[in-house]
């Protein structure tokens, strides 16, 4: 047990990723699902940063990708919340079980 290495970062990000997936699958509240998606995205970000730092220290690709992911996550959150609000207006509910219109 010496330094904190790549393995530690990857373990954290994997835990974060699966917590996010679990939350996305089990939670019925759409806001919580959205938050779970953010967890998944952040798990990716940690991976990018960690690989960049440990494997290619003199490049910045991973960092740039992380910035892109954060930007896209923000846009996604905005769109998702707009959808959720419209859904609430129509259905008076933000429960994912009630939003089964895609079948029709």
């Amino acid at each position: 047990m010496s330094d904190i290495g790549l393995g530690h970062f990857l373990i954290v990000s994997t835990m974060l990723f699966f917590i996010g997936v679990y939350g996305f699958m089990t939670r019925r509240n759409m806001i919580t699902m959205l938050m779970s998606v953010e967890l998944i995205l952040n798990a990716c970000n940690i991976n990018f940063i960690a690989f960049n730092k440990f494997l290619f220290p003199n490049q910045l690709d991973g960092v740039f990708f992380t910035l892109f992911v954060i930007a896209i996550a923000a846009a996604e959150a905005a769109v998702a919340i707009a959808i959720i609000i419209n859904l609430y207006r129509n259905r008076k509910s933000i429960d994912a079980e009630d939003a089964d219109m895609m079948r029709l």
Binding site: F24, M25, A99, D100, M102, R103
Partner: protein, 653 residues
């Protein structure tokens, strides 16, 4: 007028009559249609006779041999460079004889029908059908291509079907027309296969090329004679299948059952189609391919001869017992066509051996005249009596003198009494048979005697026997017997045909029609004529003793030979045999198996695939529930699957 134009006009005029009357005349001038059809037919008859005259006496003969000329021919359906279906007109002695017979008899029937069919519903339709039939028959005899003959062959079948079923409100007529169509259609299937066999080996559909390749030794002839099936060469198979088509149309023995029933049609139609023209198409077909039969396939010719002679005798025996006058005539037609067939069968190619060929066409020609006359005469009688049954007739000679004399002439002609047309042609056939095959000769002699007997049985039963009194005054028409014998439109054809039934016998037929185109001078041997003529006259006398005055002798004789008599009366149970085979065996046993197979196997496959599809789609439908989380689940499962694939199996490939 050039030959090509003339021979284009001859079939085109009846076709025009058909189209004009069928499309326009039926609605706008139904009463006038008969006259119109008759006038057009007259034009066609005049043109065809002029063309035939020109062919026989001016252009046709080169160095004493009648040529095969192609008046016109255009390629209709080319399959390849060498194989095509053409439409054309051939000029040779037999086709020229045939167009004269067809147009002339058709003209007579057109004129006769003006009186006979007067006042019928669908009068115009009747004339349009007559036009269609005449067109098809002319196209048939002028064919240059074996496929062209097949097309017109089917067309005459259709027009025959339409005309037999003309009284379509009568169930028996409907059944008869269906029977005629199905039986001949069955035979035509054989014909088609025969065409395919012959054209496959010869590589052509054209008659002349085909005949040339099948008679002159060469690669095609070697191929077709060496190839075989069940030990019989492909050539024999092909010709026999073609002959099957001819036998169906010409009512030869196993396929004859439709002809007697076809008498349900109007009587003039029987005269035209089922006596004089269409039924001799089979004879014409064999004659068209005659060089092939005679030179390359003598076995086939023997079969033609035996089928012909058997049909001829078989029909003659049945004709002695029938009481429906049209049926008697139908069996007599079958018998006479059998004569023509075996005359072809005993003939050889070229020179004196070709006597049978000449005799066959001679008999075809004279038979067309006197058989049409017999039918038209019978039509006049039926018109007068309103019954087909000879037991309702008798003593009509005083009531209808013209018909009586005409009918008597026709009977004498068919019986082969010297001086009348039938005598000359029949004598020639018997000579040809005598020269080649004693079995056929003796059967033919017996048939000739039977023919004389049943024709005079018919004659005496209609015109003598008992006194005629109108016991039908309460039947169909109130004014039954106020009309006279027959209108002039009916009497005129009878008189013309009666004269021709005598005159046509004196044509030196051998100098026009022969197997190789050379003139054939058949000498007339008095000694060979003695036996058949004395038998015929003896038979006539027997018929006179039996039937001139009503007496008990015929019934006693019938009782004495009860077995044969009952068999012949029921047409030797051939119809019942066919019914047994089709209804019991094919539809009964075969049908049960087929129905089981259809219900279980065919339907089973369809139902099974439907069930599988339905279940599968149900499963698939449940997956698509519209819930975003289950979709995410599928997506995630898929990703996981790929991950596992990449991690554990990627480097394996």
């Amino acid at each position: 007028m050039s030959d090509s134009l003339a021979l284009l006009l001859v079939p085109a005029l009846p076709l025009a009559a058909f189209l004009l009357i069928f499309l326009v005349g039926r609605v706008y001038f139904p009463k006038f249609s008969g006259i119109l059809g008759t006038v057009i037919m007259l034009a066609a008859a005049v043109i065809s006779m002029a063309t035939a005259y020109k062919y026989f006496f001016v252009t046709g003969k080169v160095d004493g041999v009648y040529q095969h000329l192609i008046a016109f021919k255009f390629t209709w359906l080319p399959f390849s460079e060498t194989v095509s279906i053409d439409m054309g007109a051939i000029m040779d002695p037999i086709s020229m004889v045939m167009i004269c017979v067809v147009t002339f008899i058709s003209l007579m029937v057109h004129i006769y029908s003006l009186g006979y069919m007067k006042g019928e519903d669908r009068f115009a339709l009747y004339y349009s059908y007559l036009g269609l039939f005449t067109f098809s028959m002319l196209g048939l005899v002028l064919s240059t291509n074996i496929f062209q003959i097949y097309i017109f062959w089917e067309l005459v079948g259709v027009s025959s079907f339409l005309l037999i079923g003309y009284y379509f409100d009568k169930p028996s007529a409907v059944a008869a027309s269906k029977k005629a169509f199905i039986v001949t259609r069955f035979a035509d299937a054989g014909f088609l296969i025969g065409i395919l066999v012959l054209s496959y080996y010869t590589g052509t559909l054209d008659f002349e090329t085909m005949i040339a390749r099948l008679t002159v030794p060469g690669s095609e002839l070697t191929a077709i004679t060496t190839a075989g099936f069940l030990g019989v060469s492909a050539l024999t198979w092909g010709l026999m299948l073609v002959f099957m088509g001819g036998a169906g149309k010409s009512a030869m023995f196993p396929l004859h059952i439709w002809l007697p029933d076809a008498m349900e049609g109007p009587t003039p139609v029987s005269a035209l189609i089922h006596a004089a023209t269409m039924v001799v198409a089979g004879v014409y077909l064999v004659a068209r391919l005659f060089p092939v039969f005679a030179i390359s396939c003598p076995v086939g010719l023997d079969i033609v001869a035996y089928v012909g002679v058997f049909s001829s005798m078989f029909a003659a025996v049945i004709a002695c017992t029938q009481t429906d006058i049209k049926r008697v005539l139908a069996y007599s037609t079958m018998s006479q066509i059998g004569y023509m067939m075996f005359a072809l069968g005993v003939a050889g190619y070229g020179g004196e051996n070709g006597l049978g060929f000449t005799a066959s066409f001679f008999h075809l020609f004279t038979h067309a005249m006197f058989k049409a006359l017999l039918f038209l005469g019978a039509g006049a009688v039926i018109h007068y009596v309103h019954s087909n049954d000879m037991r309702d007739m008798g003593g009509l000679r005083k009531h209808m003198p013209v018909t009586h004399i005409a009918f008597l002439i026709a009977c004498l002609a068919i019986a082969g009494v010297p001086g009348f047309a039938g005598f000359f042609s029949k004598e020639e056939i018997l000579t040809a048979a005598h020269n080649s095959n004693p079995i056929i000769y003796w059967c033919a002699i017996a048939t000739a005697a039977l023919t004389a007997f049943y024709m005079f049985r018919l004659y005496f039963n209609i015109f003598w026997n008992k006194e005629y009194h109108a016991h039908h005054s309460d039947s169909h028409h109130g004014d039954d017997h106020h009309h006279g014998e027959a209108p002039w439109s009916m009497k005129a054809p009878l008189i013309i045909l009666a004269l021709l039934s005598i005159a046509t016998g004196y044509i030196p037929f051998g100098s026009f029609v022969s197997s190789d185109g050379l003139a054939l001078h058949s000498e007339f041997h008095l000694t060979s004529a003695i036996l058949p003529v004395s038998l015929a006259i003896g038979a006539i006398i027997v018929a006179m003793l039996f039937y001139r005055k009503k007496n008990a002798v015929p019934d006693e004789i019938a009782g004495a030979i009860k077995g044969v008599y009952t068999g012949a009366l029921h047409k030797f149970y051939i119809d019942e045999l066919y019914l047994f085979v089709t209804k019991k065996l094919i539809f009964g046993i075969g049908g049960t198996i087929a129905a089981w197979f259809d219900k279980n196997v065919v339907d089973g496959v369809v139902n099974f695939s439907a069930t599988v599809g339905e279940n599968f789609s149900d499963t698939l439908k449940k997956m698509q529930n519209g819930k975003v989380q289950s979709y995410a689940m599928y997506f995630f499962t898929g990703v996981l699957g790929f991950v596992l694939l990449f991690v554990f199996l990627w480097d394996k490939f």
